[in-house]
Every structure is written in C-alpha cells, then in structure tokens.
C-alpha cells in the first residue's frame, strides 16, 4: 500500500521496529526506509558501525539495534528524512522522539506543538525539549519532542501553533 499512499502499513512498520526489549533499554534509531533505492549515507554517517555496510547500494539499511545507541547523527544525513530516534525510557509516561524538521519558524525549547502522525493528522500534543541546528545538521534541524508513550511509534512530525517568530 505504501506504493499508493506514501504511508507505510502496520505490516511494513512491524518489519523495521526495534524489538520491545531493545526499546526498554533506551534510545534507538528507527529507520523507515522500505524501498530499494540507490542510497547509503546512513551507513556512512553512523560512527558506531551500527548500520551494516551495503553490499549493493540499493540494499535496505540493516541496523544492529544493540550497537545503535540512538545518538542521532544519522537523522540529519538521511536524504529521505526517514530516520527517527525513539527513547521509551525517557520517563514513566513520556517517550522522547527526535525528528528532522526543515521548516520555518523553528520551534523553541519548551514550546507546546501539535504532534502529527504519518498522514499529517494531529494525534496529540508534544513538548519540544531540544532543537539541534548547528553546522553538522546543515539546515536539517533535529527536534527532540516528548509525547505520551503510547504515541512513540505514531508521531513523526510536528506542527507549530504559530505562524511567525513572534
């Protein structure tokens, strides 16, 4: 169905989600890349060797969840903006998600924003806790948000509740 809708199905997602036991240990990368296309910067970006070397540049990324520590250096390097960091250990009720966000205005630390799912629908509220926008991110800022834990695998975008920097 993703080939018709652009939205991965439950089944697509089940194939790439980290196992529950891994999620219970701390932050980890979730790579939502489902199509064989010629692209390998996630492998080049990872400094821990958690993303396996590509035999064929068209391979889907294969991630070693035990090696990945959720450091997020791959998030702003994926040309498809398809990598997210999920930390379900952030607090008892909240999960932390890091996502790429290439829009203006940028959210600010502490700001409450709409949490959107993969179809762009508002599914809840998120609180911005960090905005990484340095030289490394190179205009693909990485935003850390807190969402209710049950939404950790649903929320993949945010929408600001204001339109300007005011």
């Amino acid at each position: 169905m993703i080939e018709k809708t652009g939205v991965p199905t439950r089944k697509d997602l089940a194939g790439i989600f980290p196992p529950k036991e891994r999620l219970e240990k701390g932050p980890v990368a979730v790579i939502e890349c489902f199509q064989r296309i010629p692209c390998d910067p996630c492998y080049t970006a990872c400094r821990r060797g958690a993303i396996e070397e590509f035999e064929d540049i068209n391979d889907l990324p294969r991630i070693d969840f035990e090696r990945c520590n959720g450091c997020s250096v791959c998030v702003s390097k994926c040309p498809g903006l398809a990598i997210f960091i999920v930390d379900e250990t952030y607090s008892e009720k909240e999960a932390l998600i890091k996502l790429p966000f290439e829009f203006l205005p940028l959210p600010q630390k502490g700001e409450e924003v709409d949490a959107l799912n993969r179809q762009g629908e508002v599914v809840g509220e998120a609180k911005v806790v960090k905005v990484q926008n340095g030289r490394y991110e190179d205009k693909t800022p990485v935003i850390s948000i807190l969402v209710p834990k049950k939404l950790s695998m649903e929320v993949r975008n945010i929408r600001l509740r204001r339109t300007s920097d005011e």
Partner: protein, 482 residues
C-alpha cells in the same frame, strides 16, 4: 509575492530598480528575470496567443519553451523568463507574432570575431552536473576544455535543488544540490578551462564540425576536436482543456521561480505527477510557505521514491494515484481545476470528479532530452519512452554515431543527477583519451565510473533505465558492425 525567509536558502538580490509594464510603474531587483519581477508584482499574463488571443504565461522558466515571449524595450519575442531586468526597462504584453519591421533590434555582430575560428580540444555544451564533471575529468586527463552554458551561472538545474541527494559519497550523497553546484564549480580549474557563460550554442555545422555560438550579441565560432553534449532535458506538457492558462507551470519552473529567484508561484497548488520531481517540488513548495492541496498521478502507483512521498504525507498533503486533470478553469489566470479518477484501463470514471480551488498547477509528468544539437549533427536517435523520448544511440564510452560527439546526463536518457555526474566523468575521460590524453589513470578512472553507474542503476527503480540503455548500446554495436 516574494519569499521573506526560507529554511534552506538566502536570496542574493541586486539593487531595487524601476521598470514599466504596459505603462504601469513597477519595481524589481536588477538582474532577476523579467518574468520573476512581473510575478512578484502579481503579473502572470505575459502575452496573447497568436490566433485565439488567449492569455499565456511562462511554462519552463529556464529558456526552453517560448511561452513567455514579450516586447522589451521595443524588441519583440524576448524570453522574459531568462532576460535580466534592468533599470527603466519598458516591458509590454506581446500580442500575436512580434512585428520585426518596426522593432528596435540590436543585431548580432560577428565583426570583432571576423572569420576567426577558435580552436579547442573538447567543447562541453551545458554546465549542469553532467557537463561540469565532463569538463573536470577531461581537463584532469590533460585536454584543453571549453565549457559552454547559456545561463550566467555554472550548475545547470542543481542551483534550485534544495534537497539532499541520494546515492553514495562519490556522488555527493546527503549534500544538497545547491551545494554540489558550488563544490563542482570549485573543482573546475578556472584558469585553464575556458568557461563561456551566457553563451548559447545555436548550431552545429556538420560540414566542418564548427559550433556557432551567440554570446552577448556576438557570434562566435569554435572548432573543437571533440564535443560533449550535456544539454539536459525539458519539461513535458500535459493535454487537458485550458492547459495554457497562466498559473499552469512546469514543476521545475515553479522550483526555479521560488528557489532561485525567491518569488512564490502562487498560494494554492495542485501537483500533477508523483514522480520524484513532483514529490520533491511539492515538499519545497511547502517549505516556501505555499499550500499544496494535493498530488495526483494517472499511474496506479507512486513513481517517485517512497521516502519523498512519506515526507509530503507527514505534512498532510494527500496523494491520489489513478487520478488525472479533467479541466482547468479561469479567465485570465487559473482559478480552479477538476480532477477525476481513472479505471484500470486508464479511462476516466464519471462521478469521481473533485474540484480544487488552486491558482497554480504544477506539471511533473516527465522530461524529454534537449537533443536539438544531436539531431543537427545527424546522430542516430531512437525513441525510448523509459529514457524520456528520442535519445541518442551511443556506445559504452558515451560516443554517439557521429564520430567525436559524446553525450552525458539527461540528454543521453533522463535519469537522476547522480548518474548524470558519473556519465559526465565517463564522457570526459573517453573524449580526452580518444585525443591521446591520459595521465596514466584513465583505465582505473573509467572502470570506477562504469562500476558506479552499474551500482546506481542496479535497483528495481532503474529497471526501465537499464532496459532503455541496453537498447541504445546494442543499436550502436549493430551500426558499428554494418
């Protein structure tokens, strides 16, 4: 309307100047295209069609089509999508054919050049990703290179690509197209490469292999030993009632207007085509603060990369596959469009019509190779739909059926910029080698390029490309044997 701030881009602007449009005073930035200045002033109707007096705007925005012809300072048939704005210009709507009898025209002069014919080893026509790499690699082998482009800047269409590229490190993956243009321009040996910008190759003379070039109203002749044609491709149109209304633009044209010139194409957009260009430009329209109401595609599946599709879906933009345009509406400008669904046999289904209030439709239904020079040169061409249309028959070295004429990039079959760059390298290497230039690394570099191309084209998304290219190379082999 102009873009005030942008998440990726900062716009360098010339000084503010006044000009007039049909007698009305307006202002724009010196050096931007007249069409961009007019658009920023809300003017989208640029001329009237010859027979039916219909309003027309631009379509391609990069000087390929002739949709934007206007009268400028008394001179008719000026392509205002590329003609640069100057202070006090008098711009007028062109009605019908331009009248040359009363026009003030500055003739192209060849006096200073006289009968002089400039010589060079390799002329590279087009300074986009393919042409830049061709020039760089031919020069590295030791050849004297002349690099020509009709634009004022190096980089071709890279200069509007604000997204990160795919591929591998060798093809600058993860780097934005705009930044790749700078990287490649810096790799050029500017002292030893003859770079001719604002230079349009207007003809190739088969008899003696001379290229005719128009630059700053002068006519220049160059006789190269080898030619690498890297002229790229142009955007196709789609047939539907009122498809000529101003506001219906090529998706790349909208991209040029907003990402290169900082002017928004409109407020509400329908994107026609869910290939990579349609998906990428939709995302970039949203980045420029423009509302994309929907993306439609006549095919039952999304043609572009799914990651691009997911990016726009997360923004709330719907994608309707098996949908096409029924009709567009508007008096002087586009005001509304009706789309409808197609059945399995691509026939429209009555009762599925949907109206969308849009002032822009972007057409992203594919590109066709800009192959005029190859036709002139008598190169054997073959119609291959998977490669975008008529494509030159060529061998593994990128040489066409006309000896000494090489091709690279979209003109050799429409693909991604990453493969265009590698094809450029390959053509540059082989053209230089055929003249005896080799620093000793030819074999190694050629092999590397061939392997990179193989890798880029080995996936399922490149199936059509592989099939098309195989046909071209087999035809070449046949004609060599004959």
């Amino acid at each position: 309307m102009r873009i005030e701030e942008h998440p990726i881009l900062t716009f360098k602007k010339g000084r503010k100047v006044e000009f007039s449009f049909d007698g009305e005073k307006m202002w724009g930035y010196e050096g931007e295209p007249i069409a961009a200045a007019l658009h920023a002033n809300g003017v989208r109707v640029l001329r009237r069609s010859i027979k039916l007096n219909r309003p027309r705007g631009f379509y391609c925005a990069i000087g390929n089509c002739s949709s934007c012809l206007m009268k400028v300072n008394g001179e008719p048939n000026v392509k205002v999508c590329v003609e640069k704005l100057k202070e006090d210009m008098v711009v007028e709507t062109q009605k019908g054919k331009g009248d040359l009898s009363t026009a003030k025209i500055s003739p192209v002069s060849s006096s200073r050049e006289g009968k002089r014919i400039r010589k060079t080893d390799i002329a590279v026509i087009g300074a986009g990703p393919a042409g830049l790499l061709a020039a760089i690699s031919a020069h590295q082998m030791g050849a004297k290179v002349t690099l020509l482009d009709r634009d004022s800047k190096l980089g071709g269409q890279l200069i509007k690509q604000t997204h990160m590229f795919f591929g591998s490190e060798e093809q600058y993956a993860s780097i934005r197209g705009i930044d790749i243009a700078d990287i490649l321009a810096n790799k050029l040996d500017r002292e030893k490469t003859d770079i001719m910008l604002d230079a349009t190759v207007v003809g190739y003379y088969r008899e003696d292999g001379v290229l005719g070039i128009e630059q700053n109203n002068r006519f220049i002749k160059i006789k190269p030993e080898r030619i690498i044609v890297a002229t790229g491709a142009s955007e196709r149109v789609l047939a539907f009632p009122n498809n000529d209304l101003p506001g219906i633009y090529g998706a790349g044209a909208a991209q040029t207007l907003m990402n290169e010139h900082g002017v928004v194409p409109g407020d509400n957009v329908l994107m026609v085509g869910a290939g990579n260009i349609g998906l990428i430009v939709s995302y970039q329209l949203m980045q420029a603060g423009i509302n994309v109401k929907a993306i439609i595609d006549a095919a039952p599946k999304i043609g572009g990369y799914w990651v691009h599709a997911s990016k726009v879906r997360r923004l709330g933009v719907p994608i309707y596959t098996s949908y096409t345009v029924k009709e567009a509406y508007g008096k002087e400008n586009l005001e509304k469009v009706t789309i409808w669904e197609l059945d399995e046999d691509w026939q429209p289904l009555k009762g599925t019509e949907m109206d969308l209030d849009v002032d822009v439709i972007c057409i992203a239904v594919g590109l066709s190779p800009l192959a005029e020079l190859l036709w002139q040169a008598g190169c054997q061409m073959k119609y291959i739909p998977e490669l975008g249309g008529h494509t030159p028959v060529r061998d593994e070295d990128m040489q066409t059926t006309t000896k000494g004429i090489y091709v690279a990039g979209d003109v050799a079959g429409v693909e991604e910029a990453s493969s265009a760059m590698v094809e450029g390298s390959l053509a540059g290497l082989c053209a230089a080698k055929s003249l005896g230039y080799d620093t000793g690394r030819f074999k190694e570099l050629k092999k590397e390029a061939i392997n990179q191309l193989k890798g880029l084209r080995s996936g399922p998304v490149s199936e059509g490309i592989r099939k098309g290219l195989k046909q071209l190379i087999e035809l070449r082999r046949k004609s060599k044997n004959d």
